[in-house]
Symmetry: C2
Subunit: 408 residues, 2 copies
């Protein structure tokens, strides 16, 4: 072999990185299954061999879908974090404690952390990011918003130089499923909810989904990413879909709109960030209007980039595990090659109070079908400086149903 063959080089061995996984439920199980079955393929593609070295579970003896080798299991998550063979910690157990303490311990031990924990990131994301930065180590959380949809990395890296003006997201699959069925089948809310529960899209207690709490937590995480706003879930006043009727949806359709539950995260001129969750009427040709069933989508408006949309499965074990895996490969690469802590500086945008934000509204009034009624309504709007964009009247036998769409 002559010196003229520079492309002939020794085959590089993949770098091995030891992984500890806390939690082996829907997401953890799917992740471990992927890691056990595809670890060679991932090593070929990325140069990093991800070795699962420890899996922390609550009950060592519970039957699981995924066949975790018995010697990897532990019921002591603190021991997993401290184990010197564990170099990267994955937290997929959910809820606030002990997840928060375990993540803090890992970061302080300079171990990168990958988490899918929406609740925790919406509550304590800024504080955990600060600990990660102080220890010069990665804290990655792609899976905490939008399930399998790449969203955190595009917002944090691809759009790092972009001046984002607004993000509008369908962030909850349960409510989007219910609204899609109401729209396409004309059924009432309760019927659609029952169906969603039968299919496993809605929980027995659907409150967190249908009242907008789940979307509010995700909106807080997006506000931090897109605007550097220190917003926590509790700052976001959510409005859900429980009071939407089949008639509302039908009337919206006749006016050319589709009803969706969205989170709206917007930049105010004064630099503060507005964060809201409520149902909206979207023009039928808006890209978000055609997001059906349990899919999620996030629509981003930027000064230079214009309109972007990211669409996909916002929940479920395998899609969410896919997002965790992408983060895990990134964290392992950074551990070996340096380069952790992209966009480490948190911003300082404040929250823009809801009462100062403006919107166009849709409202319906049941009135007597008599001369002068519309004039009286119009006068009332005028007194409060509400400008009307469109009006439709329906009704029978002396009663009129007035539907207004206002300007902002």
């Amino acid at each position: 072999m002559s010196e003229e063959s520079p492309q002939v080089r020794p085959i590089e061995a993949a770098e091995r990185v030891g992984i500890g996984v806390i939690g082996c439920g829907t997401v953890g199980g799917a992740l471990i299954a992927a890691l056990l079955s595809r670890s060679t393929q991932i090593a070929d593609r990325t140069g990093t061999q991800l070795d699962v070295r420890r899996v922390a579970v609550r009950d060592l003896h519970k039957a699981r879908d995924v066949d975790v080798p018995r010697e990897l299991l532990t019921d002591d998550a603190e021991e997993l974090v401290a184990d010197e063979n564990v170099e990267v910690v994955v937290e997929v157990m959910g809820t606030i404690e002990p997840a928060r303490s375990l993540i803090e311990a890992a970061l302080k031990a300079r171990k990168p952390v990958v988490t899918a924990n929406k609740e925790l990131m919406a509550l304590a994301g800024a504080s955990l990011a600060k600990i990660a930065k102080e220890n010069d180590v990665d804290l990655l959380y792609e899976a905490s918003v939008g399930g399998g949809i790449p969203l955190v990395r595009p917002l944090r890296e691809s759009l790092a130089g972009e001046r984002i003006s607004r993000v509008v997201g369908i962030l909850n699959g349960t409510t989007n499923y219910i609204l899609t069925r109401m729209t396409e089948e004309g059924v009432e809310y309760k019927t659609a909810l029952d169906e969603a529960q039968e299919l496993g899209y809605a929980e027995a207690d659907p409150t967190a989904d249908v009242e907008g709490l789940d979307a509010a937590a995700k909106a807080a995480i997006i506000a931090n990413l897109a605007f550097g706003a220190s917003v926590v879930a509790q700052d976001v006043h959510p409005e859900g879909i429980t009071s939407i009727t089949a008639e509302d949806i039908d009337l919206a359709g006749r006016l050319g709109y589709t009803v969706k539950l969205v989170a709206i995260i917007s930049r105010h001129d004064n630099g503060s960030a507005g964060v809201r969750v409520h149902p909206v009427m979207l023009p039928a040709d808006h890209p978000l209007a055609s997001v059906r069933l349990s899919f999620n989508a996030v629509f981003v408006e930027g000064e230079d980039v214009g309109e972007l949309m990211f669409y996909g499965r916002g929940a479920g074990g395998a899609p969410t595990a896919s997002a965790v895996l992408g983060d895990l490969i990134d964290a392992a690469h950074n551990l070996r090659h340096g380069g952790s802590g992209r966009l480490a500086r948190p911003g300082n945008a404040t929250l823009w109070p809801l009462e100062e934000q403006s919107s166009a509204f849709y409202l319906t009034l049941d009135v007597e079908d008599a001369a002068g009624v519309l004039a009286a309504v119009a006068q009332a709007f005028g007194e409060y400086e509400v400008s009307i964009r469109s009006m439709e009247q329906t009704g029978v036998r002396g009663e009129a149903h007035l539907v207004f769409v206002t300007h902002e």
Copy 2:
């Protein structure tokens, strides 16, 4: 100040990184405008101050939209690459040479390169990636596919652990604009093309767009990213939209389909990658079917993640510059903190010959409206083992127009 206040730390100065930009046309001008006007904001957000230190142009005296300080301009791009104050090179001049030689020189001088050059990456992406790897330096090209849409980074990083089965993309805005107008207004191809040319969406010579060559180059880049396939633009046999009639689109609509020009990049069971560009009939409720006008979108199907879609502006100065800027921030970060060369190993999937790929087809036949004609046609399909999914007959006065949609 006591020791109990660990959060009070000295304000860190942003790290300055020197940038050289080769090319100051539509994309280069928009990029330089963004860098000059928002450099402090970007430094606040990312910790990196991007200093434009040199801009190479063909004609020093040409009037430009962006006000580049005279002392930054040079007409010697080689000098720019060699300049020790230039630490990262941005190539936005386009075409193959001298862009290729300049990028090679920069990489060999261990300077990271950010490029928007679709033609070059589709022709020589694998070779350039190899030089980048040998010199342990970044070669980033988000802007070469899908304009402002974050696509390269999600495919390379977020989905690095995913087993992608298929990518279907609307990758050309000009043809999507033409097809949208034909669909929504019922006009013929020529009318829609004229309109696209008047609006500046189509060039005076529209061949590269309407014959599918532009989409083919982008498809080759995606095949490399998604499957590690060493595919170049010339390997992709493109079929364009010039023979599509208003009647084809109308009939497709009546059968519940929307006509789109797409690139299809798919993984074959034997590990090879199939890459095709041709018009397809998409079910009207497919997410790509509602991508209108000059927008682009890329639909990804993965084993774990399910269906994903990325949507946005696939061309234009400001959106493309936004993608370049995201890459530039990444390259500058890696230069200071290490961590370049994510997913450095190219794959070795081969190209799957077009004649071995299968599709469902749509075809129309004009026949005599007489007994026995359909039977004869059906027999011919049967002889060649073509299975029919649906058939529609239209026609007047003794002539029949038969529209078939086949199975694969």
